[in-house]
């Protein structure tokens, strides 16, 4: 228990330190502390990075538990792709309205997710792999839909690229600050709700019959958790575009260092996700004078990791 407390403290300090660096480092690693830039450009972006990273990592941890699939990740299950399709439609129909954008994103993300689960359900063979293949298919399908919309409505190719590869280089509108805060508050509340369900999720992941007979309404619990997870993922995707692999990398690393209690796995996933994405974005925004989409960095890290999980999964099965 004491060791665990130290781990929490270390994670916390790492995030504080990284945030400090993030706030004071400018383009091409220049140290730069002009207060207006820190407050109005870097701070909002840091908050976006922390929230997005936490949400993506937590959703990975939750889905891996519920779906009993170590490969689950909001990107690999098609949610992010569907959400981007929703956001794009919203952008064309109602230029730039944040609330509408988040709602459309949610509809797209949830639709894509259930489509993925449905396809995985009707397929024979290994469900775990079928689910991921279905998710990648749905995600690609949604991205293709986004591409069609971009071509038809003459949006720039580079805009498409930054949406599909994810970027935190977002322009925030001063007048929308109350709206941003509202969206943040909703996300934080939903994250707290999900963390509070950790013990239930833990029991459900040990077998649905065991959970059901221990007094958990399994179907209701699973459905509400999946829908809420899809919502928070969609909400951040509406701001950032598709950022893949955070949800698969963080929970797997976390499980190596934390006892198998979902509460701690969730908490460390939140912290680890924030750390990973903030670090990745620090690289994305600082290496060059031009911006690199942060999704490029997470994919470069995440795909080798995914292959490693695949290999380890094989070991476990044998």
């Amino acid at each position: 228990m004491k060791a665990l407390r130290i781990k929490y403290l270390v994670m916390f300090l790492l995030i504080v330190c990284l945030s400090g660096i993030y706030l004071t480092i400018g383009s091409q690693w220049r140290f730069d502390t002009s207060s207006s830039i820190i407050l109005s450009i870097r701070l909002p972006r840091l908050i976006l990075a922390l929230i997005t990273g936490s949400v993506l990592a937590l959703s990975g941890a939750i889905m891996q538990g519920i779906l009993q699939n170590p490969l689950a990740d909001p990107y690999l299950l098609g949610i992010s792709g569907g959400a981007v399709l929703g956001t794009t439609v919203a952008g064309i129909l109602f230029e730039g309205n944040i609330i509408v954008s988040v709602l459309f994103s949610f509809m797209g993300g949830l639709g894509a997710f259930f489509l993925t689960l449905f396809i995985a359900g009707i397929s024979g063979g290994n469900r775990r792999y079928a689910m991921i293949i279905a998710g990648i298919l749905i995600g690609s399908f949604a991205s293709a839909g986004v591409a069609v919309l971009y071509i038809v409505f003459r949006q720039g190719i580079s805009s498409f690229f930054y949406t599909v590869m994810g970027s935190l280089n977002r322009v925030f509108i001063t007048g929308y600050i109350p709206l941003y805060i509202t969206v943040c508050a909703i996300i934080v509340l939903l994250v707290m709700y999900l963390v509070s369900r950790a013990k239930r999720m833990e029991i459900i992941s040990s077998g649905s019959d065991i959970a059901e007979t221990s007094g958990i309404e399994v179907k209701k619990e699973i459905l509400s958790s999946l829908v809420i997870t899809a919502f928070i993922v969609s909400a951040v995707v509406a701001f950032t575009g598709i950022i893949g692999f955070v949800g698969i990398m963080v929970p797997h690393i976390v499980r190596r260092f934390v006892p198998m209690k979902f509460f701690h796995v969730y908490m460390f996933s939140l912290l680890g996700g924030a750390l990973l994405l903030t670090g990745s974005d620090l690289i994305a925004k600082s290496v060059m004078s031009a911006e690199i989409p942060v999704g490029v960095i997470t994919s470069l890290l995440g795909i080798p990791f995914f292959i490693y999980i695949l290999k380890r999964g094989q070991d476990v099965q044998n």
Binding site: I41, S158, S289, A290, E291
Partner: protein, 264 residues
Amino acid sequence: MRKSSLLILLIPILFSIHLFSYESIISAAPNITESLIYLGQKDKLAGRTDYCDFPGLSHIPVAGSYTSLNFEEVLRINPDIVIFSGNLTDNEALFLENQGIDYIDIPMEDYRTVHEGMEYLSEITDADRGVNIEPAADSLIELFNRAECSVYIEISNNPLMAATEHSYAGSILKAAGFDIMTPSAGPYSTVSQELIIDYNPDIIIVMSKDHDISSRMGWTHIEAVKKNRIIYSTDSEIDALSRPGPRLLEAIDILRGYIESIED
């Protein structure tokens, strides 16, 4: 740099040109289309892109978009030559070579290459109309008030992208004595908000879809925002400012109008 680089691009295909004049042309870029029309060669236009929206071209078949050529349509039209303007890809070059169709890329991004490029177009199409743009352009640019001003030209807001001093509009303003925000060597570059705020431009020209730059968080400290020196281009102005060609004088005029509107 300008003349030599243009020549290097032309050399590999020069030998096949001049043997005869081209009677059937596919224009793969809107500025080439406008240049051909200016040169009185509209009748030779056998294909165009969907971006070529000059009035009276609707009967001419579309042979692709600015970013990619429709190969089947090119074969169906079977032109003597396909003319690009900085957007020729290796794949397209390979295809056209294999099909034995002549092609040429005439990049005119920097305004100083427009005159030369159009003269070249005139030559290969046997146009009788001469090109007389450069002296006029230079004298027009002389008319700018040479304030020591810095300019950020935004062409996209998601992601944020700047037109640099190597772009068409940027090169004109640069020649007129302005300092243009240039984060990287190409004509267009993605750019972070920090860099823009750091650069602190005196003037912002907005060619993206955004219509309210001043409401962006953190931008209020920028000189241009403080003094409300922000110009939002209309769609037709954006066309004129992004199609290097015969409308060069119009483009210069638009930019001069922008600068004058600020100085009042």
